[in-house]
Point group: C2
Amino acid sequence: MTNAWSQEPVRRLPDWLQAQALRRPLHPAIETANGVLNYEELLYAALSCAASLYDQGLYAGQRAAVLLKDSYAHTIVLHALIQLGAILVPLNWRLSAPELAYQVEDCDAQLLICDAQTMSLAQEVNQSYRFPAGVIEFAELQTKGGRALDVFKADIDLTAPHCIVYTSGTTGRPKGAVITYQNHWWSAMGSVLQLGLRLDERWLVPMPLFHVGGMGVLLRSLIYGTTVVAHNGFDVERVDKALAYEGITLVSLVPAMLARLLDKRSDPYPDTLRAVLLGGGPAPKPLLERALALGIPINQSYGLTESNTQVATLMADDALAKVGSSGKPLANVRLAIDSPDGPTSMPRVEGEILVQSPTVIAGYFNQPMATEHAFRDGWLHTGDIGVFDDDGFLYVLDRRTDLIVSGGENVYPAEVESALMRLAGVQDAGVVAQANATWGQVPVAFVVLKDGVELTDETLAQWRTRLRELLAHYKIPQAFYAVSSLPRNASGKLLRRELREWVKTRC
Amino acid sequence: MTNAWSQEPVRRLPDWLQAQALRRPLHPAIETANGVLNYEELLYAALSCAASLYDQGLYAGQRAAVLLKDSYAHTIVLHALIQLGAILVPLNWRLSAPELAYQVEDCDAQLLICDAQTMSLAQEVNQSYRFPAGVIEFAELQTKGGRALDVFKADIDLTAPHCIVYTSGTTGRPKGAVITYQNHWWSAMGSVLQLGLRLDERWLVPMPLFHVGGMGVLLRSLIYGTTVVAHNGFDVERVDKALAYEGITLVSLVPAMLARLLDKRSDPYPDTLRAVLLGGGPAPKPLLERALALGIPINQSYGLTESNTQVATLMADDALAKVGSSGKPLANVRLAIDSPDGPTSMPRVEGEILVQSPTVIAGYFNQPMATEHAFRDGWLHTGDIGVFDDDGFLYVLDRRTDLIVSGGENVYPAEVESALMRLAGVQDAGVVAQANATWGQVPVAFVVLKDGVELTDETLAQWRTRLRELLAHYKIPQAFYAVSSLPRNASGKLLRRELREWVKTRC
């Protein structure tokens, strides 16, 4: 400092919710089926909830698992954990109890917060992993009165973890993606620089809040001081009504949701709807064309959990000229294609998409080797295959070779195969995506049966029952095909590329 | 990283101009009297100019003094220096050659870039301080062809200094405020979160680009990828025409400029003009009322060089209810009032305004003691006196006790007094502000004459001639009053508070 020649990087900011409660106390912060909270009310609710969690034995730095279907509850708890300095572990309530137990044990969660709808699943998880501070229903927590404890934080430490989001990998073993506050800050700013910002923004989220896509909108709106409209899951009638009549300016959708909306819709939406952010997997060209024909401002985007949502977005202005592209990198993001000569931004080179961005996560919790592998050489290695065109627009040619994206949810074949191998009568199994008009993709399975076993309706029924105990519903193969052997290379590695050919030719 | 538990703060971003040239190559970046440059053209011009400066002997980390009246030239050079990694020292062309020589010597400037209008002043400065790489006219620099050297940077280091802006202090000795890239980034984001952002923003800057107020807009527009409309100085007809017919969305003004515009104007401006940022000193209440009556969306703001422009802004919606206030702190800014019990945000406590903000500068170049004093205890001590009302709105009661703000320019009495003491016949001198309808304030002087000297027209004419050699025009007292002695305390310190009373009662 003696020479004042340079500066430490910015690390701390005034707490975002406290700041918005001062700046815009009466501005609506969240709208859910349970009503509207303004920023002052949200702060009071979060402070009371945080004090209540503290009383339950949850302290700063500990992990709090959250299994909430109710958006109102999820939002209050998310803000309470920030006030407390505890780390959010948002759980996917579509997963099975064993899947969830693995995650909460991996991150050593201190307690689990559930609601009436998720209580029985929560209790089941608690059978396998005993939460030190127990399982608590949201309704039991105080959210009135604005009780603040002096252990609460006045600042945001940008470098600290905000949450751990579990994402399955190609190995099938879920990994906890550690997302920091600065990841959220830079995502929020990247989005502003791409889409602009209205002070009266109303951002509709009909997707689950446990994914980065939904959660990101909660954090962005907090950083902006604007309004989130959160639905508990996707109800096509309700979303259509909100877009048509409720002054929504931005909405995040996955292709399957857009498809269902368009099946309903023949009129344009009002001009207040200024961008539809389409993420969570590739959108079929005909779907985009139908939307554009209706004047819906589609912004196709590309991103992944490890980049804390989108790193590239195709602006609505370019949507017609560049159908099928995910657009250009957001501000402050550098994308490259991995080539034999190293990372390149040259056009027409196909290869793995690499990302440098201040939104790239800290790493995988307690998995230094997986972290080192995914983030080697200063780039996030996405596993997705892409190419730039001559104008610098990114086209994603193939999501991670193995990845199946079904209705916005990631399904990793290795994880499903590992469950299939536990079924009575299965000798070998291979899982691959099949195109589906509603969900984009669904998983299907090729199985080698043990001697004497046959693929009867009865066998299938037994398998499905067993699989429902092991896997989330959307991961269960929609079809099973018996084969005499699976294509494997000399070292025994399954050749999924061939399986994908089988789907096209045999199914 | 083994635990992936937290993250290093973000330090590097892809170069902003290179990124915009990729994202929005054909979008207008700057509009000046010399025409329009889009982002691709601006990048090419900046690269060529940077290569040309490198050929002249200017390297990364060195200081480049810039004395340019021409906005087009100033803009290209500003961007060229970023590409080169050299540090901009923007000089105020209203200053005298000795004032400028002090600044360039203090920062050890490598060269001086001037234009046709500032050439003779530049040569005069070069008499006192020999620039190692000389004085160069902008017209001699290459700005065509986009020549890039491999010494250019591909990244922005957020913690590195971008520029050194000289600001006089209460001691009269100018200090070089070191503004970093992250100061600009956070100013840009603070502004977005306060005003929102349109992707087709057109921000008019009729104020000089050598001040943080004007320069800040150049950097923000770069960060946003939007358009700056830069005038070479304030021409009331031209500004009025731009606001009325040229789709300006934002404009930065000082109160004196607004007063002159309102003298011309009886009709509202179009709705495209969404905010008038009023900075550079307090605005008289009648002026604000006239503007609001005409429906002009005034955003009164408070800031200083040391906070890299505004830290508080009064939104147009609150302008009527809170006339005279500077509004609430921007996002990520914490303001407090220094009280006997320490920094407080309680209402109705009057005291020095303290600032915490990621926009607060690195410090004063080569002045560790002044830096330590101004930034002690983790707060920027502004020297300004303020108070919060019950709703958290800031009122600036008194700019730094000594400071005179004349037409947006800061005038430090101590500096003017020190020049007055060099005049023949002056025994003692005290300088203080007098209210002025056009400029807000002007400096006036109380002088104690040496024995036998009288304040004749001839004496005054001689003084003015000599003062023009020593001081910028706007610093020269508009009136001189002869007195028998000045009010000083026991230790000889001038009591300016009493001088201010004299102005009210005697002048």
